[in-house]
Amino acid sequence: MTANKHALIDHFRMMLDMRHFEEACLEGVPTREIHGELHTGIGQEAVAAGLAPWLRREDALVSTHRNHLHALAKGVDREKLLAEIFERENGLCGGRGGHMHPFDPATRFSATGIVGSSIPVALGFAYGFKMEGVSDVAVAVIGDGATNTGAFHECLNMAAAWNLPLLVIVENNSYAISVRFSDVSATPTIAERAAAYRAWGRCVDGTDVEEVWKACGEAFDHVRGGGGPALLEASCFRFQGHYEGDHDTYRSRAERKRIRAEHDPLTLTEQRLLDAGAATQEELKRMREASRSETAALLATVRAAPMPDASGLHRYSFVGV
């Protein structure tokens, strides 16, 4: 049952592009073009894609170590983003930031590699928006693991005390690296913690892009409307290891297989499109192909770009001294 077939096709296209983008990143690992840890959002596309349509350019989004899909959702330039991830001089940050630290003032997108640290920065944007009296929203995307950091509590309390436009979206993939959320957390859900701040909170199936889209709509309505902070928990599954190279021994083979078989948001959406008669197998295939070849072209372009020259090591340090 699909409210809007066109919207669903758009969601699907975006998810496809996201998946292919992440797959392009994977190609940089064996070649050491991406020579540190790489965290991808493969399997979690529905969260970012369901969020994307609600984001305005003026909204701010602060993400985590697993940030590529959120950057795409926020409208960060794909080529500059991929170039940054591939450590190129023409990347978003001249190859200085790398995949965990993309900064794009044009779209008010940024990230951090420290768990929990995105929320305070988003809170700062929210404070600014409130002062200005605008209806922009500051979004912090975090993982389930980050909800057990002190920063989570401090920020939700402040946002609620001062009625700030802060939306915290939790991608709950049940794991912080190898540690199961349920083994180290007091509550089965994260959304229920919203009550401790008298904030808006709810859970959504984060593999269902339409449900995510709807829930994000409610959340944005609440926050943009001046209702104060909101906490949206989207349950989802991480397909890859925590980072590329992670042996992922904490999940059984069976569990990993089941996840890919049953919880792939792309497959689920394809099926729904077919069921609704919104697209044929053939059309879906063409979409896949188009997205794949566009991404391949992008990757080729990025790979042709130069690495930063060692002479630029000290550039971008202090400006004033």
């Binding site: 930031g97 940024s110 951090t112 944007f125 202090f318």
Partner: protein, 333 residues
């Protein structure tokens, strides 16, 4: 027509700088515990909330990680936040936002995002023992990406704060609790605080006393102690050149080296912990700049590497003071 000499508290000098910059630029705002309604535990921000409103002078909960990061976000959004961490000793609850966000984003972003933020905090020892008496400027100076300012004179307290707020680079500004409640005229030099706006540049050490026998390098409240000690030692026939570093980052090696080239002897005095901090760095820089052979003698006099004890008798034995500086100099003769 000469301006009448004003005698104000150090705390007021800082407050004037903040007020002046807030007046001039409405992107400047202030966040911290007790900065608003009460005007700060040392009265630095007295009157600012009434003048600029609650939004721009914000009393926060005891959530340093959140409001320090809030400063980072505000800076990224185009504001010029001043975040107060009441005592520098408390920075352990929020260093993350200082060391990995505030100070690193300018570089990590390839220069596309500036973080014009000031972290104001107070160091120095006023009798409250190990968890409330640290200086820690060496800690910040070791972590790259921030300007580290430790003013000593009333003139600099105001001028360096104004410079910090105007700076497009992130700044740590460490006040000294020993000075905040004192009157400006208790400081031996640069005790006059002009009423208008002015700035003091970063990275320019100041020779606050000329001398020929020994170069004494220090920072913050110890500058006053050193000057008093130098004056008292004059009759003993030691001529001490005293240098106030003003900022640790950038560090003005040139001014220090030029002085040591002249005197041949270097004493570094530091209220921060002895080891792995300012005193070692200054020695190393001078030795590198001049070559070891150019120096005849080198010594350090700093807070010993122990948590500061509560008892006054022990505290006095630990914290560098006018008297202990005199002793340190005498030991070098």
């Amino acid at each position: 027509m000469t301006e009448p000499v004003r005698n104000v508290r150090f705390s007021q000098a800082i407050g004037e700088a903040i007020a002046g910059e807030m007046e001039a630029d409405d992107r400047v705002l202030l966040l911290g515990e007790d900065v608003g309604r009460s005007g700060g535990v040392f009265g630095v921000t007295r009157g600012l909330q009434e003048r600029f409103g609650e939004q721009r002078v914000r009393d926060t909960p005891i959530s340093e990680m959140a409001f320090t990061g809030m400063g980072v976000g505000l800076a990224m959004a185009g504001y010029r936040p001043i975040v107060e961490i009441m005592f520098v000793d408390f920075v352990g609850v929020c260093l993350e936002q200082v060391m990995n966000a505030m100070s690193k984003i300018p570089y990590m972003s390839g220069g596309n995002t500036r973080v014009p933020m000031v972290l104001r905090t107070a160091g120095g020892c006023i009798g409250s023992a190990a968890q409330h008496s640290q200086c820690l400027w060496g800690t910040f100076a070791h972590l790259p990406g921030m300007i580290v300012v430790c003013p000593s004179s009333p003139y600099d307290y105001k001028g360096l704060m104004a410079a910090a707020i105007q700076s497009d680079d992130p700044v740590i500004y460490i006040e000294n609790k020993r000075q905040l409640n004192k009157m400006s005229n208790t400081h031996p030099v640069d005790a006059v605080v002009p009423e208008g706006r002015y700035t003091v540049p970063f990275g320019k050490a100041k020779v606050v006393r000329q001398g020929s026998d020994l170069t004494l390098v220090t920072i913050s409240a110890s500058v006053g102690d050193a000057l008093r000690a130098a004056r008292l030692l004059e009759p003993e026939g030691v001529s001490i050149e005293v240098i106030d570093l003003r900022t640790l980052v950038p560090l003005d090696t040139e001014t220090v080296a030029a002085s040591v080239a002249k005197t041949g002897r270097l004493l570094v005095v530091d209220e921060d912990f002895h080891s792995f901090g300012m005193s070692g760095e200054v020695v190393a820089r001078v030795v590198e700049a001049l070559g070891p052979q150019a120096l005849r003698q080198v010594a350090r006099h700093a807070m010993p590497d122990i948590p500061l004890p509560a008892a006054r008798t022990l505290e006095e034995a630990a914290v560098p003071s006018e008297a202990s500086i005199i002793e340190a100099v005498r030991k070098m003769k």
